[in-house]
Structures are given as structure tokens and as C-alpha cells.
């Protein structure tokens, strides 16, 4: 099976140019500017596959790049109002915010496009000399004689649907590192293999997930309330099905609206997509979007297992 491939040696190979992978790359260069670091990203550019809410807590960024404002980070809309709503089919009840424990408050947080923040993080990493390879999915793990992870295969190209090699076939490259950091986000395809091979989940509970669907809308000026952050639970999901919605107003007349359904739902007839579409018709939601335009749509799984499901984090050759 093993195919002859060229290989390249790095100090650290990172799989995934998301917030985790890029933060690792930047931190490595801040500590030791001479380290050679490759970051592989399956999307056509860093940020192309990133989909998030997103209200972000700047605590980690303050630590990583304290002068992010001066460096032009696309983080501008501060949260001004935080609402928690319980929806019925026709009405809604707001939960008074003093009932919410302090950790649930969003003051001091920002509404952003995480995709844009990721693109910006990628430019910060590149300025420090990190090599980012967009369009290069890491498709296979490579192990050394002792069984430790030595690197990954990336950039295999030109295999036809039936498996034969087309004229423009490229075998890809092996990227070797002293350490390999896997930062694929929720349900990574290489992480899945590592979990199985090194039995990393042996002492934790099964990982739990949700599916998050999101649309970006441009809404009329009079409907736009920059910094308003709303979270809803209840209708259209029944009480036994976990999930809820977010509505974030930000930027220039933009509203990020999304729906999360916990994937432990029992009824196989449930369609997260249709629940989301139906949710937007609720009398408290529809007026915000009316007269507006849908600009983008997408979805991404979210890990929800929390503390109980955090697997073992390291394996020979990386994490």
C-alpha cells in the first residue's frame, strides 16, 4: 500500500487552520521563532470551512495577541444586550438576566464572523513565518517504527471516481514533524483514527455532538440592533429534544441566525434543516428578517460532551 512519496521535515506539523491550529502555530513561533511549522488546511483558504455563531469571549485572544485591535482584527461589534427567550408556538417569555449565573453573561464579548477572524489569524501566523497550505487535506497518518505518529500524508490529487489514477495524478507528500498537532475541530477524520488506535477514549464517556445550522442575513437598517444577542429554546422542538437558536446582530446590517439540534435526538423522522426553517417563521423572529436578504447558508457539527467526554489528549508523537 505504501506509495513512494517525497517527504518534508518540520519541527511541528499542524492539521487544521482553525482557531485551535492557528493559535498553536502562533504560540510556537512566539516562543521559538526558529521552529519550522507547517499548517495543513482542507479548505480552499484558511477560514473557508469555518462556520460558527459567533459571540466570542476575547480572553484567549488577549493572551495570544494582546494588541489585536491595533493589528486590525475583524472584531468590532461589542455585545450590548443579552436575551434568553423561551418560545411557545405563538409567543415567548424572556428569562430575566439576573437569574442567569454570571458565566452565562455576554458582556465584554464580541459578535464576529469566526471565518473572518480565522483568515486574520492566518495572516498573523504567516507574518511570523508559519507555512500554511490551504487546499491540502491531511488524508492519512504516518507512523514510525515504534508506532509513534511521525507525520501525515497531504495533497493526494487526481484519483478518479473508480479509483484509477488520472493524467494529472499527484501522489501527495509526507510531512514529518517532531510533533504532530491534530486540530481538525469536531469529529476530525484523523482524530477518529487516533482515538481508535491509541484507545484515547477508554477513560472518558462517549463524545456528544450537536449539529449547528446557520444563515447570514442582511436586514433593513430599522430592524438592525448591533450588539443584540438572543438565544432561544423551546418551539419548534418538543421538550424531549435538545437544542435552540441564536440570533446575533453585528457589522453593517448583518444578522447571523442559527439553530443547534443536539444529535442525541430519538425520533429518526426529525430534520434539523426543516426545524431551522420553521423556527424562522416564529412571530418573534420573522419580523427581523422580513425585507432582508439571505446571503449565506451552512452547517457544522459541534462537540457537546464537555468535561465528561474529554478524551486522553496525547499520543506518542503529538496531541
Amino acid at each position: 500500500m505504501a506509495e513512494e512519496r517525497e517527504s518534508m521535515e518540520y519541527d511541528v506539523v499542524i492539521v487544521g487552520a482553525g482557531p485551535a491550529g492557528l493559535s498553536a502555530a502562533i504560540r510556537l513561533k512566539q516562543i521559538s521563532p526558529d521552529l519550522t511549522i507547517a499548517v495543513l488546511e482542507k479548505g480552499a483558504e484558511a477560514g473557508a470551512h469555518i462556520l460558527s455563531g459567533a459571540v466570542i469571549d476575547p480572553v484567549a485572544l488577549n493572551d495570544l495577541i494582546p494588541d489585536w485591535k491595533a493589528r486590525g482584527a475583524p472584531i468590532e461589534t461589542e455585545v450590548t444586550k443579552d436575551e434568553y427567550l423561551f418560545l411557545g408556538p405563538a409567543g415567548s417569555a424572556a428569562l430575566p438576566s439576573f437569574l442567569m449565573p454570571p458565566l452565562m453573561h455576554n458582556h465584554g464579548n464580541y459578535v464576529v464572523s469566526l471565518g473572518m477572524v480565522t483568515r486574520w489569524l492566518a495572516t498573523q501566523a504567516e507574518e511570523l513565518g508559519v507555512e500554511i497550505y490551504p487546499g491540502f487535506p491531511a488524508s492519512e497518518l504516518v507512523f514510525d517504527e515504534s508506532g509513534a505518529v511521525k507525520g501525515v500524508v497531504a495533497g493526494v490529487f487526481g484519483v478518479a471516481r473508480d479509483g484509477h489514477k488520472k493524467g494529472d495524478y499527484q501522489p501527495g507528500m509526507e510531512l514529518h514533524g517532531k510533533y504532530v498537532l491534530i486540530a481538525e475541530g469536531a469529529r476530525g477524520s484523523l482524530a477518529k483514527q487516533l482515538l481508535a488506535r491509541f484507545d484515547l477514549g477508554a477513560e472518558s464517556e462517549p463524545q456528544k455532538f450537536g449539529i449547528g445550522l446557520k444563515e447570514l442575513w442582511e436586514v433593513p437598517q430599522e430592524r438592525h440592533r448591533p450588539g443584540l444577542v438572543q438565544h432561544c429554546v423551546g418551539w419548534p422542538l418538543d421538550d424531549k429534544t435538545g437544542g435552540g437558536a441564536f440570533i446575533y446582530h453585528w457589522g453593517d446590517r448583518l444578522v447571523s441566525i442559527g439553530y443547534v439540534v443536539h444529535l442525541n435526538y430519538r425520533n429518526p423522522w426529525l430534520s434539523p434543516f426543516d426545524e431551522f426553517q420553521r423556527f424562522k417563521q416564529h412571530p418573534i423572529v420573522r419580523p427581523t428578517l422580513e425585507g432582508g436578504k439571505r446571503l449565506a447558508y451552512g452547517g457544522r457539527a459541534i462537540t457537546e460532551g464537555g468535561l465528561q467526554s474529554v478524551p486522553k489528549l496525547t499520543f506518542p508523537g503529538g496531541r
Partner: protein, 224 residues
């Protein structure tokens, strides 16, 4: 991910930084390809873990008691863990089953009739896929691999109504029939895939393995 806050970004960044610190120190000490145990140990006392401790029961309470009661108990529990340094009356609740195992048989549930989209506020799947800008080279191996190709029609269709048709948010999976409604066939429209990974997680038979397609394939989100 902090479930009640739906926030994961800052913790993803923190864990990236912690892994970097452990790797940089190991390389400086002349080590390579061993286990970064400093990282594992660092996690135990990290801000990431402290945060997850406080909200640890929010999700299991929802799973057990539903949105209204579970949500109420979750709020109470987060107050308790916040005020009492992580202590909870519930201890640490278990999640139990995996998401795939949680799926029940179709015969136990009513089919859900969803309203037709109005094309103004609500939309159908195909116009939505279009707005994800997703694209894959057509002539490449299907990157959604079935461990056993017969399972969707033989097992999933009779037992679960083949829920892939419904949980996939971009219509990758279809069951096609002849005109007279016979001869069901499973079709995978891999080019629509937006890499959300739901199929790999939720397939009740755990028969779908998501692997990376050719480079550059997948969505192209501008500001998501």
C-alpha cells in the same frame, strides 16, 4: 465546548496554545515524538477544564429532564458550581449512550410534517446548498465511505426510515425508487457535502465514514 454558552472558540484557542507550549518546551529539551505529557497534565489545572467543570451537568440534565425542567435544573446547577467552587448536588452526571445509539426505531415515532418553505423567510435544501458555495471535483472517489454498502437499504430503511435523508442538511443522501415505488436504492451526492460530519456521528448503524476529499473541495464560506 461550553454547551450552555455555545462557546468553544476561546477554549479551542487556549488548548492550541497549551499544546504549543508543551511542544516548544519538548523540542527545546531535545525531545521528539514522545507523548506530550506536560500538555495532558497542564489540562488538569487549566482554565479550560475549570470552565467545563462548572457547566458539566447542563447537557446531561437536558438529556434526562427535557428542555424546560432540565434547563431550569441546569441554571440552578451552574449557580451551585459557581458559588461552591465546582461542587454540584448532582455530582458529575453521565451522558450514557452515543448519539448514534440514541436514535430509536421509526415505528416508535410519528412522521413529522414540515411546512413548505415560503421562499422568503424559509427555503428548501437545494437553494440553501447553493448559498454554501460548496463544490467538489465530480470525478473522484466518494469521500463518504460505507463500511457495508447494503446497510442503508437493508437495515436503516426498514428500521429507521434511513434518517440520513433528513439529518444531512444539504441533501447528500437520497433513497431513489422506480416509478412503481419498488427497488429502493441509496444515492450519495458527495459533491453537495459541506463537511459538517453529522452523518459520521449520527448514522444509527455507524456505517458512514467521512474521509477527506480532494484538496480545496467543500464549502466556501465568506463570512460565517
Amino acid at each position: 465546548m461550553n454547551v450552555p454558552r455555545i462557546k468553544g472558540t476561546h477554549n479551542a484557542m487556549r488548548s492550541g496554545m497549551m499544546a504549543a507550549e508543551a511542544a516548544a518546551a519538548a523540542i527545546a529539551a531535545g525531545r521528539m515524538r514522545d507523548e506530550l505529557t506536560d500538555y495532558q497534565d497542564g489540562y488538569a489545572t487549566s482554565a479550560v477544564r475549570k470552565e467545563l467543570v462548572k457547566v458539566r451537568n447542563a447537557k446531561p440534565l437536558l438529556s434526562r429532564f427535557g428542555t424546560s425542567i432540565g434547563g431550569f435544573l441546569g441554571i440552578l446547577d451552574m449557580w451551585t458550581t459557581t458559588l461552591l467552587g465546582g461542587f454540584s448536588l448532582f455530582g458529575t452526571l453521565k451522558h450514557g449512550k452515543s448519539d448514534a445509539e440514541a436514535t430509536e426505531s421509526a415505528s416508535k415515532h410519528k412522521k413529522i410534517e414540515y411546512p413548505k418553505p415560503d421562499g422568503v423567510i424559509s427555503f428548501d435544501k437545494s437553494s440553501s446548498v447553493y448559498l454554501s458555495n460548496t463544490n467538489h471535483e465530480e470525478d473522484q472517489p466518494v469521500h463518504l465511505k460505507l463500511t457495508d454498502p447494503s446497510v442503508p437499504i437493508r437495515v436503516n430503511l426498514p428500521e429507521y426510515g434511513e434518517p440520513a435523508r433528513l439529518y444531512c442538511p444539504v441533501g447528500v443522501y437520497e433513497v431513489l425508487y422506480d416509478d412503481d415505488g419498488s427497488n429502493p436504492r441509496f444515492q450519495i451526492n458527495a459533491q453537495n457535502c459541506i463537511h459538517c460530519k453529522t452523518c459520521d456521528i449520527k448514522d444509527p448503524s455507524q456505517n458512514i465514514n467521512w474521509v477527506t476529499p480532494e484538496g480545496g473541495g467543500g464549502p466556501n464560506y465568506p463570512m460565517m
